[in-house]
């Protein structure tokens, strides 16, 4: 049964039997891995034997065990649940644990580089501490006073999309406000709009984060190019479901003309 699935898929190592040379040998992948630190570095080529279903992180582990024991990489669960092994594979921000080698053409070199948006520490490891600083400033969950702690499954389902974020920071890496314009001091980034959406849409939450979104998180800087949504390994529709509704909240709260008049009159 498994076999049928594998064979129906193009470019799968076990299914393809390419004619000609190399057929007798076991397959090798060629990886070019960035080696270096804050003072500079370059890509180093490694040839790695390929097993069926192997992912880029397996290849990195093979290199550590056989070629470069000091190759720095972060990883934990190896199951796309912890969001530790983020890198740029052939230029695309990806989790190495779910990027399969058999998705690349056999003759193509696979480049593995650290996330560009964050300062490099060594090899594939970057300094992501800025994200933790942003998170500290987000107003936490605050239950509505006197709330009845009962709600429907649909309330859970609605907000679950935002709460399944694994904090891989790939959306932060790809976001041009952070990556190209380097506005980390003004802009919280897609990860934290997802985080705020998860709090704002919590059925029991009573906090208002629209002021924070406008003045501290810089949500206005996002011009909805949806790059973050494209790279999200958890398939969270970041732009449409988190950022745009939050932008609307900010607009309603601060820029609605009727409300502006009302606020002037009442002083609220």
């Amino acid at each position: 049964m498994t076999q049928t699935m594998v064979e129906s898929r193009p470019g799968t190592a076990t299914a393809q039997a390419p004619a000609g040379e190399g057929q007798a040998r076991s397959r090798e992948a060629v990886l070019r891995v960035f080696r270096g630190d804050a003072s500079g570095g370059s890509e180093v080529e490694y040839r790695v034997p390929v097993a069926p279903g192997m992912v880029v992180l397996d290849a990195i582990h093979w290199i550590q065990a056989h070629r470069a024991p000091d190759l720095a990489v972060r990883w934990n669960c190896k199951a796309a649940k912890c969001g530790s092994c983020s890198a740029e594979v052939n230029g695309k921000p990806s989790l190495m644990c779910k990027t399969r080698l058999d998705h690349f053409a056999q003759d193509r070199t696979i480049s593995v580089r650290p996330m560009k948006t964050f300062p490099i520490i060594k090899d594939l490891v970057t300094d992501v501490s800025w994200n933790y600083e942003v998170n500290k400033r987000i107003p936490p969950f605050k239950p509505r006073p006197g709330a009845d702690w009962r709600w429907q499954q649909s309330d859970v389902d609605r907000v679950q999309e935002f709460r399944k974020c694994i904090e891989c920071f790939l959306c932060q890496d790809v976001c041009h406000v952070l990556r190209t314009h380097e506005l980390k001091h003004q802009f919280a980034g897609p990860r934290f709009f997802v985080r705020i959406a998860g709090l704002e849409m919590h059925p029991m939450d009573g906090e208002d984060r629209s002021g924070f979104l406008k003045d501290h998180a810089g949500i206005g800087l996002c011009n909805i190019t949806k790059c973050c949504t494209e790279v999200c390994p958890e398939s969270i529709t970041i732009t449409d479901n988190a950022i745009i509704p939050l932008k609307e909240r900010v607009v309603d709260r601060f820029y609605d003309p009727l409300r502006m008049v009302w606020r002037k009159l009442t002083g609220r």
């Binding site: 498994t2 992912v55 065990a65 024991p69 000091d70 934990n76 190896k78 399969r100 499954q153 709460r163």
Partner: protein
């Protein structure tokens, strides 16, 4: 020696999974200064991988449930080797801990009347696991993490503790290095809470990440604490078996909780064959009854039908799958089929979203259409640091432990869902007791500069060597040794061979050489972790040799039945100079009022 930074806290918590976070919160609530140290980034600990749910007798779905039944299930699941008092506290307090989590913002799936929904799990009489799809651990860790962040507790991320310091037998602090820079850090602390998880990385086929190298158990052992029940290693019955890169990756018990059926290559539903006679009456008698039970669960209604045989305890299901494969009825990749595809695809995707994606992306298997292939994977340690049930204190003053690193609650086998509740219940107690101890301490314990220097030298030694093996080679051989000799079924000769191999591995690990600089160097980090893995592996093997019986997760082919005399003792590991000492210590006896709970239910104790 080189300059190092020093930090001072009343309570130092090591490990930032569920137990460490919960301990941190409680200690901070007591108004003492707390520091939290973890080897990875915050929020990446193994709790994030927990899928199925947290066990608590809330009785939202099955109103018959209560702490007494949860207590009985836990004791039966652990073959009565559990510390009765821990099992009692755990069953009584876990509902409050789950509700508290909800008030801190955790979102669980709901019942029709809007309360926390609960699902069935192996060995639990009633539907008991509060969950959110199959992402319960993620929801828990984010909620706890957020509490810690807003309490302003300093978190020392990517920092590895290598030694605990004592003064006059009590805790005085700890030594660590930053994984990023390789520089040393010294912590002065009145109390330490160990919440470092298990030792999965001693095995090749495991659901555990690199972090699970027995650090906490080894730190405690070297500081003079006692470890118990190390021979009880839980092999989760359902790990992925294909493709090779993901071998061992966890397939949540939630699949079986939702109605997943196990079959062998011949299509036989084999679990009935393996139900222990004493428990058979707790399960459906045939496929029809099992199906009716699943239908009722799907429709969220009460039923008198009994649960399917796949919901037997983990030790039992793991042995069943292993035996089916060994006897030639395994699937093409050496496992069993686990099938949930007979349920509506929409339900499977909603209740088991990460399993759906995991199989689709890593194995090209659509679990809504096809069965999964699964086999046992090393998952959890029941054994660990011996603690006092009420205070979570170890046998060393000022040293506390909680979660997987501690022992006693689960006995010979842990029920699924009981570890998330364990983290909350005993994490809280450990944090509370550590804070109280620190407050009551009149004077600050002193650190000995010579010990700091000695420890720094030892940690850096692998850089000094001009010859020696790579730590990766020794690690690979350790995993082979443990998989082969101290696995799911054990015999005397294998265990003896394992012990002999471990002695040579210990020597080899002492001589490993690392390349490169101290800057984020995984080879160097492994060299250090390796020593811990070997220490705990030796404890596992020694315990397994002495326990000449089969009980819970410990199965001896040469001693296939339970020995009532061994049911009255824990094997206790402690350090005697450079040697590891193992002694049988008496298991505390359950008081009459708790024994009465079993008599009421007409169940045998022991």
């Amino acid at each position: 020696m080189e300059k190092y930074e020093t930090h001072e806290h009343d309570v130092l918590v090591i490990g930032a999974g569920g137990a460490g976070l919960r301990a941190t919160i409680e200690a901070a609530h007591q108004g003492v200064s707390v520091g939290l140290v973890c080897k990875s980034l915050l929020g990446k600990a193994h709790t994030v991988m927990a899928e199925g749910g947290v066990a608590a007798a809330l009785a939202h779905v099955d109103p018959q449930d209560g702490w007494e039944t949860h207590f009985r299930d836990t004791m039966k699941g652990g073959s009565f080797l559990n510390h009765w008092r821990m099992a009692q506290i755990h069953a009584q307090e876990s509902p409050d801990r789950v509700r508290e989590l909800e008030h801190w913002g955790a979102l669980f799936d709901r019942t029709q009347d809007g309360r926390i929904l609960q699902r069935a799990f192996g060995g639990h009489t009633w539907k008991r696991l509060a969950h959110v799809g199959d992402r319960t651990g993620l929801e828990m860790i984010r909620t706890l993490q957020d509490q810690v962040v807003h309490l302003g507790v300093p978190v020392y991320m990517e920092c590895t503790i290598t030694r605990l310091f004592t003064e006059g037998g009590r805790i005085a602090g700890a030594m660590a290095y930053w994984r990023e820079s390789g520089r040393f850090v010294v912590f002065r602390a009145k109390a330490v809470v160990i919440a470092t998880g298990g030792v999965g990385k001693s095995y090749k086929v495991t659901s555990n990440s690199w972090e699970y190298s027995g650090d906490g158990q080894t730190l405690a052992y070297e500081a003079g604490a006692e470890l118990i029940d190390l021979e009880f290693v839980q092999f989760h019955p359902t790990g992925m078996v294909w493709p090779p890169g993901v071998m061992g990756l966890l397939v949540t018990e939630g699949v079986r909780g939702e109605g997943g059926i196990l079959r062998n290559a011949k299509g036989e539903r084999f679990m009935w064959k393996y139900l222990p006679e004493a428990r058979r009456h707790e399960y459906a008698v045939d496929e029809d009854e099992a199906r009716r039970w699943v239908e009722a669960a799907v429709e969220n209604r009460q039923t008198d039908d009994k649960r399917p045989p796949e919901l037997s305890t983990r030790d039992n299901v793991a042995r069943a799958i292993y035996t089916e494969v060994r006897e030639g009825r395994g699937t093409p990749h050496g496992g069993a089929y686990l099938d949930i595809s007979y349920l509506p695809a929409e339900r499977v995707q909603r209740k088991l979203p990460s399993m759906y994606h995991q199989f689709m992306e890593l194995a090209d298997v659509d679990i809504t259409q096809q069965p999964m292939e699964v086999g046992p994977t090393m998952h959890y340690m029941m054994g660990g640091i011996r603690v006092d049930p009420d205070t979570a204190s170890s046998t060393v003053p000022g040293l506390y432990a909680a979660g997987e690193a501690a022992a006693g609650l689960h006995g010979a086998n842990r029920l699924g869902g009981n570890s998330l509740s364990d983290l909350l219940v005993f994490g809280r107690r450990a944090g509370l007791s550590a804070a109280q101890y620190a407050k009551a301490l009149a004077s600050n314990p002193r650190l000995d500069e010579r010990e700091i220097e000695r420890e720094a030298g030892e940690t850096l030694a692998p850089f000094e060597r001009t010859s020696g093996e790579s730590p990766y080679d020794v690690h690979r051989d350790l995993q082979t040794c443990m998989d082969r000799h101290v696995g799911i079924f054990r015999v005397q000769e294998d265990l003896e061979l394992g012990l002999k191999t471990l002695a040579t591995l210990k020597e080899r690990a002492r001589k490993v050489r690392v390349e490169g600089t101290r800057l984020y160097n995984p080879g160097w980090h492994l060299a250090r972790d390796l020593a811990n893995m070997i220490t705990v592996s030796e404890g596992i093997t020694r315990g397994a040799l002495l326990r000449k019986e089969s009980r819970g997760a410990h199965s001896r082919l040469d001693h296939p039945s339970m020995d009532p005399a061994l049911g009255k003792v824990n094997f206790c590991v402690s350090r005697a100079g450079e040697e590891m000492k193992v002694a049988a210590t008496p298991l505390p006896e359950m008081p009459a009022e708790l024994r009465y709970l079993f008599e009421m239910a007409k169940e045998k104790v022991g």
